[in-house]
Symmetry: C2
Subunit: 233 residues, 2 copies
C-alpha cells in the first residue's frame, strides 16, 4: 500500500488527505513532525516540505504541487484509460479557475494568514529550541487575524455566486481552502461570524466523509476547541 | 490575437514569455508595472499578480499557476486532439518531478532569493512612495545574495546528472529556474562563479530562441549590465 507522510496541522498535507478521501485512494498515513527528523525528510524531499507520497515501487512524490496533480493523473479524472472523478474541472478554463484559487490559498492566504499563525502558535510552541521553537510573536498572529477577515469575505462572495468555490463542482479549490481554514479552526482562530456564506460553505465541506479523519486529529498537549469537530459549530 | 500582460522583471511573467516562445504561441505582449494601475489589475486578477492572459473571446487566465497549465492544455502536449510538445513531461512521475522543481523555484527560491532582491532593488526604487517605493533594505539583499549560492549549487548538481534540470528534456522546471535567475542577472546579482555546471546550463537555455525577447528587455533608468545579453558571459 502506498504511504503518505504528513503532519496534522500542515495545510498542504491536509489537502492531500482530503484528496485521498474524495478520490477513494487507500494509503498508509504516517505522521511526521517536520522539525523532528529534518535530515531524513530532506532525503525524501530536498525542499523539506510535507506531504510526501511513496508508491509501492518506492517512487517518491514530494510536495503538494507535484503530488496533487500526480494523484489526479494516476487515480483521478486524468488517469490513463479511465474517466474517473476529477477534482480540477472538465475544461481548460474550469481547471484554470481551480488552479487560480488553489494558488490563492496556498500562496496568498498562506503568506498573509495561515503561515503566520501556524508558525507562531504551533511550531514555536511544539518544536524544540533551535528547530523552530521559541516565543510566539503576537504581532504576527494579530496581523494574520486581521488579514483572515478579508479572505473569509472573499470565500463568502464566491460561495454566494457558485455552488462550490470554483464553480458547479467540488474541486481542489475547496479542498485547499478547507485545508488551510481547518488548521486554524483547530486553534480556534477562524472568526466565522465575519461571513455567514463562508460558514455555510465550510459546514458543507466539513460534513463530507473525506473530512472525518481531519476532525479526529488530536495533538498531544494542544487539544482542539469543542467546536472543531462539531458539524453545527 | 490573445494578449499577455506581463512585467519585465517579474519571474512568473518571464516563465510564461519563455513558454510562448517554446510552444510557438503568438500573443500581443503588453507591459504593465504592477504598481501603476493596481485597481485595474485587480479587476483582471483579484490576487493582483502577473502574468495575465486574455483570449480573443475575453476569457481571462490570471496568474502563473493557472496559466502555465492552461497553455500546456490548450496549446501544448495536453491539448485535445493533438499530441504537441509538452513542457511538463511524458509520464506522471516525470511531470511530478517537473512540478516539484517549478515549486522549488517559484516558492522556495522566490522566498529565499528573488522576491527579496526584486522587492528591494526594483520595486523600492521604481515604484512611487506609498505604492512600494522607498529605501532599499540592504540586509534583505545581503541575505538573498547569501542564499542564492546554495541554489546555484543545487542547479549545478542537477545539471551534472541530467540533460536538463528535470530529466532528459527541457521542461517548465528549466523555464522557471531561468526566469528567476534572468531577473537577477539583469541586476548583475548572480554569482555564476559558484557553479560551473549551473553556468553551463544557463548558457544553453540563454541561447535558445525563446530567450531572445527577454535579453532585449530594457528598463528605463535601470539598464542591465553588459553581460546580461551576452551569450558568452
Amino acid at each position: 500500500m502506498p504511504q503518505l507522510i504528513h503532519y496534522m496541522l500542515d495545510p498542504f498535507s491536509r489537502r492531500i488527505r482530503l484528496m485521498l478521501g474524495e478520490l477513494g485512494i487507500e494509503a498508509e498515513v504516517i505522521e511526521e513532525k517536520p522539525w523532528d527528523n529534518p535530515d531524513e525528510l530532506l532525503l525524501l524531499n530536498p525542499a523539506g516540505t510535507l506531504p510526501i507520497f511513496i508508491e509501492d515501487d518506492q517512487t517518491v512524490i514530494p510536495g503538494v504541487e507535484a503530488l496533487a496533480d500526480y494523484l489526479e493523473e494516476t487515480r483521478g479524472g486524468s488517469a490513463d484509460g479511465q474517466r474517473g472523478r476529477t477534482l480540477l474541472g472538465n475544461t481548460p478554463a474550469q481547471r484554470a479557475e481551480t488552479r487560480r484559487l488553489v494558488a490563492w490559498f496556498d500562496v496568498k492566504f498562506h503568506r498573509e494568514v495561515s503561515r503566520l499563525i501556524l508558525t507562531e502558535k504551533v511550531e514555536r510552541r511544539l518544536a524544540p529550541p533551535g528547530k523552530g521553537g521559541g516565543p510566539t510573536n503576537m504581532n504576527a498572529v494579530r496581523a494574520a487575524l486581521h488579514n483572515i477577515r478579508a479572505h473569509l469575505d472573499y470565500i463568502g462572495t464566491l460561495a454566494e455566486h457558485r455552488n462550490w468555490l470554483a464553480g458547479d463542482d467540488l474541486t481542489q479549490a475547496d479542498l485547499a481552502a478547507a485545508a488551510h481554514l481547518s488548521c486554524l479552526d483547530y486553534l480556534g482562530d477562524v472568526p466565522w461570524g465575519v461571513s455567514a456564506s463562508a460558514k455555510a460553505w465550510y459546514q458543507r465541506i466539513k460534513s463530507r466523509p473525506s473530512f472525518r479523519p481531519l476532525l479526529a486529529d488530536h495533538i498531544r498537549g494542544m487539544p482542539p476547541p469543542r467546536i472543531y469537530a462539531d458539524l453545527d459549530f
